[in-house]
Symmetry: C2
Subunit: 242 residues, 2 copies
């Protein structure tokens, strides 16, 4: 009986720790989402100072990554979690690396946006980027949502969005080449658009990685500890975080 | 006395496990290095089939990542390492993510190389890419070397190479824009060159991440367990692995 009590006690402590670290991951995710949304806004609205401030957000993202990393190491050291719980911690360590890289892309888009803001905007006001940006932002949001709920179904659904992103990416790419061929003065701007689109594609791939990880985790843990099923994430896309 | 024996026993087991996993990380690193080197060769020599085969190497890299990941989780679960040793395992988990991403860039360069092989090669035979490629390959190699020796000094030295890579990157970028402006027919090829250069820059950043991680680890563990100081990596850059 005493042993059962002790193991219950350890498990409760671990669950509390895990809950705390998951909250921090979701806050980091919310911040990265907001960063990406602001980067796209700065591009579409030609807001140079917003672009610059987004690029600087990266320091905060890095700081969050370091803190969560330390927290995970502390949990591993003090709770010595069993195999299943361990996988969750390792998945978290990898997830924050993905998030940090999505943040990197937000930073890049911010820099390019602040540069593009000094040039004349195209007639369509980067409509194609707006569209692709919305798809990718939704994917990043859904990945975090799936993370919060440890929901493999959602993860699978989102993975199917790959084809849409690829098609959009290819279409914009071809369009940029056409612009460049027609008017050499458009080359620099078209290249910047291409970099933005590539960054979005990378952000998309980062969130896909996250999805795959959740799916694997779900497969490995089906029927495991209940702390997996808790907590739906309700914060809307791009709404920022503490 | 018995307790000391037991802790010595656990520590020996952990060291053996760690040694085994480090060997696997170095093998994975060697494979990724070779992949990058082959991708560059396929580009420079216009070898389409080599480019394609390099692109397919990615599956193997992913497989290595999964195996090392599992091994790390097993070590964490069975040895419950203390704080310092734990940091090493977490650093390894992150390092293989970096390696996998460097492999991704090798894959991309391979695809582009196989496409470029069908076009006429430029007079200078991609000399600029050859040069930048050599710098980046050396960095990737040095990062693995620093990992093998847990050598913070080497890591710092390599981090200083950043400026050289940035300058090369910018120079090639400007040159490509000039080519594009002078001759619209050169646009597609110039874009492919730009993607390759960007991939190299990303591979460079991946290896820099690795360096920073080793430096942090070194700072945190100075004076710790001797398994940190062992094993110099002697395999030359791009020599492949099992």
């Amino acid at each position: 009986m005493e042993t059962a009590d002790l193991s219950h006690h350890i498990s409760r402590r671990f669950n509390e720790d895990l809950e705390r670290v998951r909250t921090k991951v979701l806050a980091m995710g919310g911040f990265v989402e907001a960063q990406l949304a602001k980067a796209l806004t700065s591009l579409i609205e030609g807001d140079s100072s917003l672009g610059e401030s987004v690029a600087l957000d990266d320091l905060q993202v890095n700081g969050m990554e370091v803190l969560i990393d330390e927290e995970c190491s502390r949990i591993l050291a003090t709770r010595s979690p069993a195999a299943g719980d361990l996988r969750v911690i390792v998945a978290i360590i990898k997830t924050i690396t993905d998030l940090e890289r999505i943040g990197d892309e937000g930073e890049k888009i911010g820099y390019i946006a602040s540069r593009l803001a000094t040039m004349e905007r195209p007639e369509n006001k980067y409509r194609e980027i707006k569209h692709l940006g919305r798809i990718v932002s939704e994917m990043v949001h859904d990945a975090l949502d799936a993370f919060a709920r440890m929901d493999a179904e959602g993860a699978l659904r989102v993975a199917r969005q790959d084809r849409v992103v690829d098609e959009e990416y290819e279409a914009i790419h071809r369009q940029c080449i056409t612009f460049m061929m027609e008017d050499p003065r458009a080359i620099r701007r078209a290249l910047d658009v291409m970099w933005v689109v590539r960054s979005l594609e990378r952000a998309h791939r980062g969130s896909r990685q996250e999805h795959l990880r959740i799916r694997d985790l779900h497969g490995a843990r089906q029927g495991c500890a209940p702390h997996q099923a808790r907590g739906r994430r309700t914060r809307p896309a791009g709404s920022g975080a503490d």
